[in-house]
Symmetry: C2
Subunit: 219 residues, 2 copies
Amino acid sequence: MSETTLTPRTQVRRLPKRGVYDRDAINAILDEGFLCHLGFSVDGQPYVIPTGYARSGEQVYIHGSAASRMLRELISTVPMCFTVTLLDGLVLARAAFHHSMNYRSVVVLGQARQVHDADEKTEALRCFTNHVLSGRWDDVRLPNAQELKATHVIALPLNEASAKVRSGPPIDDEPDYELDIWAGVVPLRQVAGDPIPDVRNHTAGPVPKYLIPGVSVTG
Amino acid sequence: MSETTLTPRTQVRRLPKRGVYDRDAINAILDEGFLCHLGFSVDGQPYVIPTGYARSGEQVYIHGSAASRMLRELISTVPMCFTVTLLDGLVLARAAFHHSMNYRSVVVLGQARQVHDADEKTEALRCFTNHVLSGRWDDVRLPNAQELKATHVIALPLNEASAKVRSGPPIDDEPDYELDIWAGVVPLRQVAGDPIPDVRNHTAGPVPKYLIPGVSVTG
């Protein structure tokens, strides 16, 4: 299946031309981001909390401490919302009204499933670690039984997902193009600086290849 | 007042040492970000939607089309959550379990007030425009009556707000410091590329000072 299920809840209503439902486009956004924002309600009050995540096939994994209130809430049967946003640029129009931003976002609705199986939990942790920097899992001290127990992992299927994308130049009202006002786009991107080694590193430790400058930093 | 109201809902429970309630620290995070994630519930389903915002004193403004479902929901009396997150780095520990991210986030809970007054609405639009790039408002074609009418603006007070900050190196379990594994931080930051002028710009138009390379791009 190459498209997600388009439901009344995930259909992009405002500016529908910005809606994207193609699975590959959605996956590409999810694989580039580092942080998601999770939405859930407690006693009628919505909360939006940033956290890490990783995609594995047609689901995303989220993890956290077994002591986390957020994870406890998400593990119960409450519906949740999972959103990832990549900011690509500031869109400067001639009119204040038409200022905008270029961005790519994915919104997923659904209910999370708690991962209990030790093998799947370990696989989820592998995904998290490699989502941060590809190949990192091969270098680290792997989770022990106690750490696995202290970690809650939930999985959210990507069935009910949609993406929204804005790109390109500003769109002004036709008469405003005559105005002598600079308009255009200021592109924004996330870049990695030089890695800062921990002061307690052993000097013998090689610098992993994923830390070599110039290697692109995406999830 | 220099501190926000600490309520049971905004007190940071997990890892309380990461909690920050100082007003200046909260404002600095809000002023640096471009995007917020808004959380609200419709028929028990939480939604998390990215959008622009601007702080003005002890409130944040959000705006959108009068046709926006999100704005309509937020204008009703539903409680909402407003979250801004700045990602500062990837934290690579020796143990997979202790991998983390450096970040600064602000969570605000409350109910939004719709801005009806034309003067306050214009002031909010000025804040949005200058939040994108400081000084931009002075250069643009200002909103007309029709545009003001087509724009909904809401204000959310910063009373019930808290920030959460993680910074610094990884923290591993003591025995793991003996391991020959590279650990440290990969700093991340958002940078602006060269401005891309709209193809329909007039050549006579000067490049605004806020687009000169090297000028820091924060909200």
